[in-house]
Subunit: 120 residues, 2 copies
DNA sequence: TCGCAATATCGACAGTCATCGAACCAAGGA
DNA sequence: TCCTTGGTTCGATGACTGTCGATATTGCGA
């Protein structure tokens, strides 16, 4: 659990991506490329992306690990992927009794999308 | 060179990403996740992302390989990364005399951005 | 024809990563 | 105090990948 205390905040490179200029505007410097690439890398595995999309499309924006099923890998591997996504700042987690719920970290998707194709 | 004949078209998973529903709408199926992840994976390396941003932000939308410089890796490695980006359908190439010019494949960035954060 | 300059390819190597089963931890319930 | 269930961590392993130097290729000029 990376988010033990109240207000649950995203961590990792995802926060910093907000400060990156759009790819089409200026060439990224080394450190900007580093933080942005970390996010793309986290999304760059088919299984992980699938898990992420299950959470992102969950009706109440939240999904229990126990509902992440039929992705073709073992349960430890699912846990491994969830950790990677969390470490990249794309997900936050919340523990409730014996279950753990994951949700998409706020703002991350919009910021990343803006990196690729700036609105306007 | 993957684009020997006229009209230069993007190839690889990038074309298919247009058909993927937004991550926040429905969970991706296996093959959708596969094609989308291939694009994120291509952008998931810091050096490669930096090279890509240099091309994407080039004044006339096009950049000669000979202008890809100061990225901290050798020439063969740069060529390797350009190939990966081309194979992912993110770049197209054009040969002029001894020089090769790369540009961002049209529509790819917008489609990928829409995958993350659908407009509207 | 020769040499040079710009890129691409090849082969090798070191580091990273996805995956698994086994073991571990935490929280309820009997 | 045990057992069970949900999840994470550990250690190992095979596959993949970024990197390099060396080599090949292509086209231009002398």
């Amino acid at each position: 659990m990376t988010t033990p205390s109240a207000p649950t905040l995203a961590q990792g490179p995802a926060h910093e991506v907000q400060r990156c200029p759009p790819l089409t505007r200026t060439a990224l410097d080394t450190s900007q490329a580093e933080t942005a690439a970390a996010i793309f890398k986290a999304l760059g595995d088919p299984v992980r992306l699938r898990i992420f999309s299950m959470i992102a499309s969950a009706p109440d924006g939240e999904l229990c690990v126990c509902d992440v099923v039929d992705v073709g890998v073992s349960q430890p591997t699912i846990s491994h992927h969830l950790r990677k996504l969390r470490e990249a700042g794309l997900l936050t987690s919340r523990k409730e009794a014996t279950w753990v719920h994951y949700r998409v970290a706020p703002g991350v998707l919009a910021a990343t999308a803006a990196l690729l194709a700036p609105p306007g």
